[in-house]
């Protein structure tokens, strides 16, 4: 888990020297922020209340997480998450391939239907099915059932990404996405995981736009027990990022997660703002690695391609976290995104708990994708 998030992509090449003045300034700013926090009794009260309520439960959960990570394999968790609605594990695709006695157009058409209903999209579906058809002809395959494995392999190959071994070094994770994709929750879960793995984590409350977004992240921070750098609502997101990065460096954290406001990818001024946040982070990162995680709602249809494309153009996305896979949506659009844009999926969210945020495994994802609903 650890390595993978850290390995989310590009290495930071340039080493920038830390200016002493900045350190002093940051220390002062942090003091201010802390004083600020202290003064705001109201907020502290809110936090206390929540702590009271969640405290025991969270601790218990954390223990569970640790235990689970040791004992229970990734597969069973995923299956449990994904099988809430799915009775049995008869794959729709397998069923299709076994139903037909010969390979004909009708079979391919039905395969197209299955893919489209999983949100894979028309273009990618056509391409996948055409490739399968070619391969079947090439290898002179006559039995429909033989197609099953070929098709699975075809998809798994598409979704597989090479894991480059990268050195374990402090990382800044900038989290972006449209409104309501689940950014803040995902951040909370990542934070919880790293904290449970004894890593030093810091949060940056960069969503200064949405009402109470900062409070939402603060609740997570106190729930998980990690520090948070925040400004007032309406403050400049880039300034929050600046302060957060400085704090991360001086406190020597392993992971800084910077939240950003949800924005529709078509709003060019908001995307400009996002670029600015990334620029500031890049400039100030020093030795830390910078990675961008795009959070995508699994219920999203073909528009997710547009989202991935435009966010990638703006801030260079290193990986995708696919959330809300515990419903009936299959999130097949990530296949199209990988196929068209080459952006890999890194994490998937299959439930409410922190342990439900998991590393992406192409194989189990594909299996789940084709499981019948009935």
């Amino acid at each position: 888990m650890l390595k993978k998030i850290f390995g989310l992509g590009r290495k930071k090449k340039k080493k920038e020297e830390l200016v002493d003045e900045q350190v002093v300034q940051v220390v002062e700013e942090i003091k201010e922020i802390e004083e600020d926090l202290g003064e705001k009794k109201e907020e502290v009260e809110v936090e206390e209340k929540i702590e009271e309520k969640v405290g025991e439960k969270a601790e218990q959960k954390l223990n569970e997480v640790e235990e689970k990570e040791e004992k229970v394999g990734f597969f069973s968790r995923l299956k449990k998450g994904l099988s809430k609605t799915r009775k049995g594990f008869v794959s729709q695709v397998e069923d299709l391939f076994s139903r037909f006695s010969s390979i004909d157009d009708e079979l391919y058409e039905e395969l197209e239907e299955i893919l489209i209903q999983a949100d894979v999209g028309v273009n990618t579906t056509m391409k996948l099915v055409d490739d399968l058809r070619d391969k079947a002809q090439e290898e002179k395959i006559k039995e429909p059932s033989d197609l099953t494995n070929i098709f699975r392999e075809q998809l798994i190959e598409l979704l597989n990404q090479e894991e480059e071994e990268e050195e374990d070094k402090p990382t800044i994770l900038m989290v972006v996405g449209v409104n309501g994709a689940g950014k803040t929750t995902t951040i909370g879960k990542i934070g919880q995981k790293f904290k449970a793995a004894d890593k030093k984590v810091l949060l940056g409350a960069g969503d200064t736009f949405r009402a109470a977004a900062i409070d939402q992240l603060k609740v997570w921070s106190s729930r998980v027990g990690i520090d948070i750098i925040s400004h007032q609502e309406g403050a400049d997101a880039a300034a929050v990022a600046y302060d957060a990065v400085q704090a991360a460096k001086s406190r020597e954290v392993d992971l800084l997660i910077v939240d950003t406001a949800g924005r529709l990818h078509t709003q060019s001024n908001l995307m400009e703002e996002l670029k600015k946040v990334r620029r500031v982070i890049d400039r100030e990162a020093g030795d830390m690695r910078v990675e961008v995680l795009l959070v995508l709602d699994a219920t999203t249809g073909q528009n997710a391609i547009s989202q991935a494309k435009l966010f990638n153009e703006a801030v260079n996305v290193d990986g995708i976290a696919l959330t809300k896979l515990d419903g009936t949506a299959k999130g097949g659009v990530v296949i199209a995104i990988k196929e068209e844009l080459g952006i890999p999926i890194k994490l998937i969210g299959v439930g409410e708990g922190a342990e439900d945020l998991q590393d992406f495994e192409p194989e189990s994802f594909i299996n789940a994708l084709f499981d019948g609903e009935e």
Binding site: Q117, N123, G180, A211, D297, G301, Q302, T328, E340
Partner: protein, 449 residues
């Protein structure tokens, strides 16, 4: 990803057949495939598409299309009509209780935009003279209550909360008696986002319904939802009996096929759409416009409405006169630019023009470039604006200095202006030749584009 409008695609499909004279049933079938793909690309549910295509095919194979000289247009017209019809014909509104308070309950998945929509709906109803009470019924998501309180402050309407320790059912009940005693004639209950397959939480919604008997249960759905929209809408409708749908995040570039899927499986009208981040951005939903959007045909009606709001009719008439007399000046240029910019971000405006939509979306319309032009013209004297020919070298330098640009920028602007004027001259003559139909045409000349 770049999707040409269905219109272009159909035109292409039919163009190939032109030499044949009349269309055959097979030709129509080929066209239907294009329609089918367009709908699927727009995220309309697969099963809904299948059913829909069958219906369209029946009409299209009839004389209506086959005998027509413009079959592509005919097919689009039919598809458009059927889509509009399926989404509930004309727009429908909220039904208010004869005996206030009217109780509205929101429901939906996580992240659909319920809480924000509660704020927007409150603002909309307030404008209609209502006095809504906002109820913080989401006790699960961290800071959801605070979010609603902030929204309540912004719309200046009261928010009812009992913290996150009471059950949402109790909160809802208490909220209604609170509204009764405080004279709130509408109660809007926010609820926590939940998965449609989460039985426990779905039961909670049923309990709220049983206890407070809402007059309207509105399902909030993200317009970017894919094939799963059908499952979601169906489950919520089966559990609660939904009265209407609010489609959010329509200001993005999602084609919004979910709208069609939902209407088709639940038969419930889409009542409102969320068109932006601001609290004023919840608007009544127009099925006909949505139909065009799903088909990738732009949203001409909204564009016209926006234009009518912003473009000064008197000024437009004056401009037309000037064009005819070929007296178009830099002053007019600036004027017109400002009018168009008042309609909203240029990208958004252009996106609504049929055919322009997708293609232009990828070009980055640089608003800064427009700022520059504005600064340049503002740095000219009135005399110079009216008579650009008089702008010599030293004037150019002064203008550049005054606007914080370079002399090259001044040169470029003047050159562009010259070309535009030339183009308009030709257009003016063309229009005269056509008998100058005026009207909208006159209003829609955007010289700087």
């Amino acid at each position: 990803m770049i999707f040409e409008g269905l219109a272009d695609k159909l035109q292409g499909a039919f163009d190939k057949l032109k030499s044949k004279g009349k269309l055959s049933e097979k030709d129509v079938k080929a066209a239907m495939r294009e329609v089918k793909l367009a709908l699927l690309e727009a995220d309309v549910n697969f099963k809904v598409v299948k059913k829909f295509i069958k219906k369209i095919e029946k009409r299209a194979v009839g004389e209506e299309v086959l005998g027509s000289l413009t079959p592509a247009q005919q097919v689009i017209k039919i598809v458009n009509e059927e889509l509009t019809d399926l989404m509930g014909g004309s727009q429908s509104k909220i039904t208010f209780a004869s005996n206030p308070p009217t109780v509205i309950m929101m429901a939906g998945l996580q992240g659909a935009g319920k809480t924000t929509t509660v704020g927007k709906l409150a603002k909309l109803l307030k404008k209609e003279g209502k006095n809504p009470l906002l109820v913080a019924g989401d006790i699960y998501r961290p800071a959801a209550i605070k979010q609603l309180q902030v929204l309540g402050e912004r719309v200046e309407q009261p928010v009812f909360t009992m913290g996150d320790k009471q059950s949402p059912v109790d909160i809802a009940k208490a909220a209604i008696s609170n509204a009764e005693s405080n004279g709130n004639d509408v109660v809007i209950i926010d609820t926590a986002g939940r998965l449609h397959i989460d039985e426990e939480l779905m039961d909670e919604l049923k309990d709220i319904k049983k206890e407070v008997k809402p007059h309207e249960i509105l399902l909030v759905v993200d317009s970017m939802t894919g094939q799963d929209a059908v499952n979601v809408a169906q489950s919520f409708d089966e559990a609660l009996g939904v009265d209407g749908v609010i489609l959010t995040k329509l200001d993005g570039d999602a084609r919004g096929g979910a709208a069609l899927s939902i209407s088709s499986v639940t038969n419930k009208p889409i009542k409102f759409g969320g068109f932006g981040e601001k609290l004023d951005d919840l608007k009544p939903f127009h099925p006909d416009r949505m139909a065009s959007r799903i088909l990738g045909m732009g949203d001409v009606l909204t564009l016209i409405e926006k234009a009518e709001e912003q473009i000064d009719a008197q000024k437009a008439k004056e401009l037309e006169e000037k064009l005819r007399r070929q007296e178009f000046t830099l002053e007019d240029f600036l004027d017109q630019m400002n009018q168009v910019r008042n309609m909203g971000p240029l990208e958004e405006v252009l996106g609504m023009i049929p055919g322009v939509g997708k293609q232009l979306k990828n070009i980055n319309m640089d608003e800064k470039e427009l700022d520059k032009i504005q600064a340049l013209i503002s740095s000219m004297t009135i005399e110079e604006r009216r008579n650009p020919e008089m702008i010599n070298g030293s004037r150019r330098r002064r203008i550049a200095k005054g606007s914080g640009t370079k002399v090259q920028d001044v040169n470029r602007l003047l050159k562009q202006f010259k070309q535009t004027r030339k183009m308009m001259k030709q257009m003016g003559q063309m229009q005269k030749g056509l008998g100058g139909k005026g009207g909208l045409k006159g209003k829609f000349k955007l010289p700087f584009m």
